[in-house]
Symmetry: C2
Subunit: 502 residues, 2 copies
């Protein structure tokens, strides 16, 4: 029943190299087979995305009825395209796969140029029907003969922001200025819907997230988690890896690769199937006999893989790893401009037993007292200060400076509910001046919470445009901070064992 899952590992082994994956992310010219003139069709959106993204190579739509689509000359067949094509995107009805593969054979015999296929079409192995498996097999047989790497079938596509490739059929929501912007987060999703949600959510952040590489892996007929992880391991532009994982047939190998990567860069995983019912649903979906969640969970812990529980935590943690330096240690100070949210944050931080709230020096306490409004609560409890609603931008900035200068502090959560009578612009600017302008952003992480809603969007945008990530609520900041600390403690542990060369 699940035979199709392991097919790819037995075919064309010799031709399959990491290097061939380049054609997914930086191909010389792209053909879209199944391109459409109908804006309601995926075959239209893919073309539009490639154009909107500003893909610098040539795009060749392939279908058998249109002369032009979106102004691009359309070809009847892949084999008729007169120029080099390194990447082929398939978005045709699945029953056409046999003739398309025949045509691909013709092309490869004549030109031998195609190096990768993104099969966004569905109705293949995932159907678990004889027909579906047959279709997936012909796809794999043909492509593997020529060492062509395949992503999918049954995926939403692949994005590379730096190389301006977007083969997804999710409407491009990134504003123009965010496309092609260098991102450091790369993401692999085992669910197309989760992938689409993440892209749509990422695009609506105060400063939209430009992922570096983004792959919806679909059925993993060929390219799978391990291929991509090994690729991202070597990719200099990828500083953080995110994954949405339902299950992987070779869990042991997956952990082997992950355990090697986490020594170099953080990996953040949203793994579903924690519950028995969830695992059963995952098994029906991916069909990968996922294995016990407990085994995954303990491996994650052992190998320093950061497991998150919600989409919010996933996005916040990825962004925090991307934008902030790692804390040197587990000492997190909570600096709040408001009692309620500060207390709330203290509760949230306390849920992570490995996070400590530091006892800062008497000197720092004295200086805070001298500088802050008289009502300020300084270090009651230890590791916590409430600078009160009377705090102006100067108080925010200078109290933050004092804490960042205190050697007992490895990171700060800064919470503010911008009152009506305090200029958001002024507050943002003074925090930028200190944190970025004076270079603290390279030394210690500050998790800035600007509450709440669209009223403070301007303030958050201002900060994020300067590369300072902002959080929506204190608990979200607390969770992200705890994840960074968890990774720090993991690195310390393996360093102390001599397993880390730095």
């Amino acid at each position: 029943m699940f035979g199709w899952l392991s097919v790819h590992k037995n075919i064309g082994g010799e031709f399959v190299t990491l290097k061939n994956l380049d054609a997914l992310f930086n191909p010389e010219n792209i053909a879209v087979v199944g391109a459409s003139n109908n804006p309601g069709k995926a075959g239209y959106v893919i073309l539009q995305n490639l154009i909107n993204m500003g893909y610098p190579g040539k795009i060749f739509p392939v279908n058998n009825k249109d002369e032009k689509i979106l102004g691009l000359t359309t070809y009847r067949k892949l084999s008729e395209i007169p120029e080099k094509v390194e990447l082929v995107v398939l978005i045709t009805p699945s029953q056409l796969i046999f003739e398309i593969m025949d045509d691909l054979e013709v092309r490869m015999q004549e030109r031998n140029d195609v190096r990768a296929v993104v099969c966004a079409a569905a109705n293949y192995g995932e159907t678990k029907t004889e027909e579906g498996i047959k279709r997936q097999n012909i796809l794999m047989e043909t492509t593997s003969k020529y060492g062509i790497r395949v992503v999918g079938p049954n995926c939403i596509g692949v994005i590379d922001n730096i190389n301006r490739v977007d083969t997804t059929f999710v409407e491009t929501l990134l504003p123009k200025e965010s496309r092609g912007r260098k991102g450091s987060i790369s993401f692999i999703s085992q669910s197309g819907a989760v992938a689409a949600s993440i892209l749509m959510w990422g695009a609506s952040q105060p400063v939209p997230i430009s992922f570096n590489k983004f792959v919806s892996i679909g059925n993993m007929a060929d390219v799978d988690f391990i291929d991509l992880l090994e690729y991202l391991e070597q990719d200099q532009d990828t500083r953080v890896i995110g994954m949405y994982l339902e299950g992987y047939p070779e869990g042991y190998r997956l952990m082997e690769v992950l355990s090697r990567i986490t020594k170099k860069k953080p990996v953040v995983v949203l793994k579903v199937g924690r519950s028995e019912k969830g695992a059963s649903a995952a098994n029906s979906h991916t069909g990968s006999l996922a294995g016990s969640d407990k085994v995954y969970d303990s491996a994650f812990k052992q190998f320093g893989i950061i497991r998150v529980n919600t989409m919010e935590e996933l996005m916040d943690t990825l962004q925090a790893f991307d934008k902030l330096p790692l804390p040197a240690d587990e000492a997190l100070f909570i600096l709040s401009q408001a009692g309620g949210p500060g207390i709330f944050c203290t509760d949230a931080v306390s849920r992570h037993s490995f996070v400590k709230m530091p006892i800062i020096s008497d000197g720092t306490k004295e200086e805070l007292k001298k500088m802050l409004p008289p009502m300020a609560n300084i270090c009651n409890p230890e590791g916590y200060a409430d600078i009160t609603a009377a705090a102006n931008p100067y108080h925010h900035k200078e109290s933050l400076r004092l804490l960042l200068e205190d050697p007992t502090v490895s990171g700060v959560i800064l919470i503010t509910v911008v009152p009506t009578f305090l200029s958001q612009e002024e507050l943002a600017q003074s925090l930028i001046n200190l944190y970025k302008g004076e270079g603290y952003i390279h030394r210690k992480p500050v998790f800035m919470v600007i509450m709440a809603g669209s009223y403070v969007r301007g303030c958050r945008e201002r900060l994020e445009k300067e590369g300072i990530y902002t959080f929506e609520t204190p608990d979200r900041a607390a969770n992200a901070a705890a994840n960074l600390i968890k990774y720090t403690l993991f690195l310390k542990k393996i360093r102390s064992r001599g397993e880390l060369n730095d």
Copy 2:
């Protein structure tokens, strides 16, 4: 040290009646003492809010330098206002309280019209200084002599949307059409910053939240949780009560009142101080010797008070109680258009052990199978269906209908990641036609998750404008659904004990 907290209970007991609280929410004319012509001052924003809200009575700014503020005739003293004034808002520097109280005495001797004061100004009892306590005492001595009820000091104000009163100094962010709209949620906050955050967040929802009554209680020098809870208990327009709670000096009395109210309407509480550090910070902030969180927690459980953990859960749960019918039982079906988010939701639901995923009838399963796309996963596991990305609006709607018609189902979580090729408008409309048009919204709750980001905002707005609340992520829907079920189970329990008359 905390003596000021109990002052109010000993003064003017005879005059203090629930009825006087009306003047906070529906006063005949309002004076704003400390009104300002400077848009950066709270004394300006309060006036602006009253005007923007469309307060139908007269507004009298009081200060000693301006002739007019925002076009309104300004008076030197409260006692000089020639018309009836039922509500006085104080936003003056705190040291002026003595002369203002002298002037209030004059007014009361002459006119005896003021019935309530909102003291938004700070620097009173909360400072725990001799001066602060003295100021609070003079305020309380004067007002209680005349049975005038006082909210604050040190609060952000009071809102009544239906009566168009907004005495807060948080910029009014509600769009015009949301002001004066009948809301059923009333909220009491022990933190001004949390109150402000909730207002700002509520205003930025797909359809902004029009609270019914909203009170930031500040120091609780007079009006406190119990007064307001008893008032809201009797308020026909309040169907759900929300609270942000740090601590209350008379915990036993609070629980007595709450245990009576939860038999009539749900109460949702965000109580901080769960952790030792958090409790210590709460104690510094509110100074109310909050008492053990464990005691609160077990009382909440016993009396059916719904405790939430995050701002998101607070807002979602309040909205769900407001907009959806209570489920008759604990059987929650997960209907997803996408595998990944559906599995994720199953995990989230499974965290609540009292929620059950129902085994629907074979008949319903058969009908689902007949109607849905061939790849659909029906009830594997039980209580779960994945209608797949091939599902069109008809599939969404009719599968939902079948489940709502199945007697084993008490509620449904419906998740959809609107694909590019499916019209959001069409999907929203068909769900509205079924759920609202055919009246299911009065019978069973459907928790609709429309993922994700601003791309689907139009779809969510369309649904919410018809009174159908939408959730941002599956886990948020799962938490809100679990909270409704928790309340249902509480009502069933007390009904079975004969403690509920219905």
